[in-house]
Symmetry: C2
Subunit: 340 residues, 2 copies
């Protein structure tokens, strides 16, 4: 009998899932009230600091060991002309990440994030999911476990990204199934296809949704149908972060879709995740409306790689540096609000 993995134990065992620590968060709220500024005047920065406090269980949360993990995978469906780029670009970009030439390398350097690139069997794409299942459920579990195992124990902020030519097709199909959203409104240009290619992409996704359906009771079966390997690994890493109470910054459309599969297991399973930015992919806003999550940034990005999440980590740092570093009214001898 093979060993039971953490992912199997998570789904099929009876594990206790760490929750937001309201006691610490309330202490962080008290701290905010003493800082030399009108209460609430730092808006979302205050919310973020308090949210980080609750997840890190520290009144003064920190970002000292942020990691960006980029999972990369290839997709059989790329043979159907759904992307503007050939599938060899996945491995070429992985090389680019390793050599330091991609957008995410510059952004990680700026934000002092350690970058880990995890290519998953790039020479073995998933099956074309418009014809059959992308992969078996056992494969899904193994890639989720790979994602689960990839989080360094010292990590205090997880920045998640991905690379995989044609993976917006996968993510769009997943999102249409999960949230029962219309394909034409969910499908975007990805890396930059034209109108004719977009019509084809919509047709392919439609076909896949007719083949596999939209009703799924668990994350594993939906990922088995629509793929991909990197998407399963992202979902596994989100679980891992939750089990360790590590706050997560989801990047854009793909990463959010990957994490969203987990709500089929438990509705509040993404409470430890923030959405970094609103992607230019039209499906993203629809996923976020379903998840009731607001993006931190809106910069019209559609690159992936974790780029938006790396940028959003700077906003988190702004939140923590003010929360942790400001003087109090008493210390600074600043008069408090006049009571009216």
């Amino acid at each position: 009998m093979s060993k039971v993995t953490e992912i199997e134990r998570f789904f099929y065992g009876n594990v206790t899932i760490p929750q937001f620590d309201h006691i610490t968060a309330n202490k962080a709220i008290d701290l905010q009230k003493q800082l030399t500024k009108p209460v609430g005047s730092l808006g979302k920065l205050e919310e973020i600091a308090i949210w980080m406090a609750g997840w890190q269980k520290k009144i003064k949360p920190t970002i000292k060991n942020p990691y960006c993990l980029i999972f990369a995978g290839n997709h059989g469906i790329s043979n159907k002309g759904v992307s503007a780029y050939p599938s060899e670009v996945t491995s070429q970009m992985v090389e680019n990440f390793k050599k330091g030439g991609a957008a995410i390398n510059q952004l990680c350097k700026l934000a002092k994030i350690k970058l880990m690139v995890i290519p998953i069997d790039l020479d073995k794409p998933t099956m074309d999911f418009s014809e059959c299942k992308a992969m078996s459920e056992d494969e899904v579990l193994s890639f989720m476990q790979l994602g689960f195992d990839s989080i360094p124990s010292s990590c205090d902020l997880l920045v998640l990204g991905e690379m995989g030519i044609s993976n917006t097709t996968s993510a769009t199909s997943i999102s249409c199934a999960l949230f029962n959203e219309p394909v034409d409104l969910m499908t975007g240009i990805g890396t930059g296809i034209d109108k004719i290619q977009l019509a084809n992409k919509i047709k392919i996704i439609d076909k896949a949704l007719r083949l596999h359906g939209k009703k799924f009771k668990d994350p594993v079966s939906i990922l088995s149908c629509y793929g991909g390997k990197e998407i399963a690994a992202i979902a596994g890493s989100v679980i891992s972060a939750r089990m360790k109470s590590i706050p997560v910054l989801l990047d854009g459309f793909i990463t959010t879709a990957a994490a969203s599969t987990l709500i089929r297991f438990k509705e509040d399973i993404l409470d430890h995740c923030l959405v970094s930015h609103l992607s230019a992919e039209p499906g993203h806003v629809r996923i976020l409306n379903n998840l009731k999550k607001e993006p931190i940034l809106d910069l019209n990005l559609r690159l992936g790689e974790g780029s938006g999440a790396a940028i959003a980590s700077l906003i988190l740092k702004a939140a923590l540096t003010t929360h942790n570093g400001m003087s109090t009214f008493d210390n600074a001898k600043v008069s408090k609000q006049i009571s009216s």
Copy 2:
């Protein structure tokens, strides 16, 4: 006869105003096309990098010497109960800035911005502009010149902020006059007044607008009526940056209102300025609609001090680090887009 100041020469002389350099910007656009990412996939970051290139006249623009200037002033109108804080808080916060305890200190440290605090005669507030003019036109010119003179010559990005108890009342009056907007929709809670105080603030602004009117042909006369000293200095520093082709990050409501006065002199005078964030003050979005400017961030901030602008400088850095540091398709041996 007294010496003619730069501000006087700017308004009344025949100076050549530096313009956006389209030749350099076009070269920056060409560079963007070669970087290892789909063209346009970095959205606003690409626009910002190209904009910076055009203003700095460098294909690869830089942020090596960013300065945050906080101008501080006191307002006679604070006697009318328009703020949640007593006017001594202006000088107390200036002390806090100097000691490093305020939000802007932490944010400048994070973003590696040099902070300069410029208090302007804090013991001499402007006159109560609901009763008479806030100050003379000569005073306005002198405070504009002070702002003009405050920009270090090495500065390559100007981050502008302010401190002044009751200055949302000044900024709201200015904006209502400039853009003929309704007082009740423009007026907000500032540092955090309650509903009764807000009704009083609206009444005071209404009274001032009836006293001074809304029709002004030049920035100096509008600032003379509604103040304040720090607002005039901000306007002067925006002129100075323009004359030196230094890109400017305006902070929130007050800073944008201060800069907006200059459009009464020349419609395109704020082309070298970006708006950092959308303030929680309800008037800000209305000013931005009039200026046809989009904020970079929307974090529900309403602190001032340059806090939003310091945060937005991180987004500018993200724009430049990708623009300047990424590999090209040729260098990284990444396949280009499939032509359809």
